[in-house]
Subunit: 309 residues, 2 copies
């Protein structure tokens, strides 16, 4: 059983202090599947316009991503363009053209309706609900969202949460959603609305996992050069859920390990534009980075020895 | 051999969403010594005015802190007052009255001149240099600073760094000091100016350690209620350096463990106003919190098992 992702497929024009790309492959479903495919078979549901460049998705299908759920519609493909600040911590959206994505209905093919894991990318919660209605069975529903829906379609989002097992969300977004500045309390607020698991993405500060039993923190991987932060969150989600899909049992330990794989994939994603780095990464490199996460976080518990002056 | 701290002794008027205190005991030397005294004998050099309340420092001396280096001068004691925002992430200084602290010269008594560890609290780097000139020998010089000195007395600060082993500094401050947004590169910039060890304090996001061999991250302790963030950084420094002073050898492992003790002490400090919580904390509670840090950061390295659909 595969991982099913429903999300955007976009052509991104991105400028960072390190360069610029035009109409590069992007979108939540693209980053997610390029990342998750390193661990497990992935099925994609999305939409492209009839202007979408031929063969632009080949690097996904070459890695075994099933694209039968990608519909082509008459009209323009979804395009986003943005520019990042010098420190890469803020970005300005220059242009968003939804094109065919504006009327995206997310029809789930018959053979996709029993995925092991369903990832609802950051799209209108009405579409997320529609997807949930079409899926017949799944072991885990994970979901992303953003301020646009928290402000603009809160009721539908709360209905999605009732049917979600794991919410993956930015720190600012979870604070906004819960109207609570304390991250731990904000995550608990989300748990009260449905999800057992809340993963708070804190950018360079890493991730916080809040589940029913415990809290877990992982730092961001310390890169000296972040080339392009676009897609880091979806690449993280792909690594996390792709790893989990590859495992039989989801113990608390497995979930933590999954977050480390997710963080490793997020760190690869930002090393180049688009999915270039993700699509070429080797399992050896992924494992090396996972072990590095261990090196930069482990310590020994010792007792002090109180001494005289 | 003891830990010597040179820093401010203040009367703080603090308002947080949880309450208000007036003329409460504060200042970098106070928070540092209340914290470090849990681990090792501490000597304090500082100054108070003749209006300083009788017995206000007793809770330090009762814990074995040596206050012979605290001079009383004619005039007003250093007073700071501030108010924290609802989310405690920003604070506004309402009033700063330096009083006798304005002419603080930091005379180090004979018997203090060979400490095992010297901590230069966040004071004018000219005073820090003066202290370094008076100290005859020490195994470790640690130092704190702030934007006021980075902007206003950069040359003297760079001279201090040449003679510093460990710089303890906030993330925004190290970015400002190095004029470099990437924290890892900013820390390396500092290392090029002297300190082998750079500890970047990131508030709720924890600490990053950069030494010559490796990088280490520890999250902030996830408190549901932060009562008063004042003094967290100095309490962290006290736990870190107090622990190290209690140990014979400073291996990389010991330094990491020291950061965990520091973070534990910082988390206790913010649970109450002034040093109330710090002064009453038991070693059992400290050890429990250190073990909790381990629980919230540990994970297992496993390999994914790639499977068919």
């Amino acid at each position: 059983m595969s991982v099913l992702v429903v999300g955007s497929i976009a052509l991104d024009t991105v400028e960072t202090p390190f360069g610029k790309v035009e109409d590069a492959l992007g979108g939540s479903a693209v980053y997610f599947s390029a990342s998750a495919a390193n661990f497990h078979p992935v099925q994609v549901v999305g939409v492209i316009g009839d202007d979408f460049p031929d063969g632009a998705l080949d690097l996904l299908s070459e890695r075994g991503v099933d694209l039968k759920g990608v519909a082509e519609r008459k009209g323009e493909s979804f395009r986003w363009s943005g520019v990042y600040s010098f420190d890469l911590n803020t970005r300005e959206t220059l242009d968003t053209r939804l094109g065919v994505f504006a009327d995206f209905e997310a029809r789930i093919p018959e053979e996709y309706r029993n995925p092991r894991i369903l990832f609802l990318g950051n799209i209108d919660p009405e579409v997320q609900l529609n997807v949930l209605d079409q899926v017949e069975s799944t072991d885990l529903v994970a979901c992303d969202t953003m301020n646009l829906w928290i402000d603009g379609n809160r009721d539908a989002l709360l209905k999605v949460l009732e049917r979600t097992d794991a919410l993956l969300v930015n720190d600012e977004e979870v604070r906004q959603l819960a109207e609570e500045p304390n991250l731990l309390k904000a995550a608990q607020w989300v748990q009260d609305r449905g999800p057992d698991t809340v993963v708070v993405k804190k950018g360079e500060h890493g991730v916080m996992l809040v589940d029913r039993e415990s809290v877990f923190f992982l730092p961001g991987y310390p890169l000296e050069e972040v080339f392009d932060p676009t897609g880091a969150g979806d690449s993280f989600a792909g690594g996390f859920l792709g790893y989990l899909a590859s495992r039989d049992e989801w113990t608390p330990e497995e979930i933590r390990t999954g977050l480390v794989f997710g963080s490793a994939m997020g760190s690869f994603a930002v090393e180049d534009f688009s999915v270039h780095r993700l699509a070429g990464v080797k399992m050896d490199e992924i494992m090396d980075r996972v072990r590095e996460f261990r090196q930069i976080t482990s310590f020994e518990v010792r007792a002090p020895e109180r001494q005289g002056a």
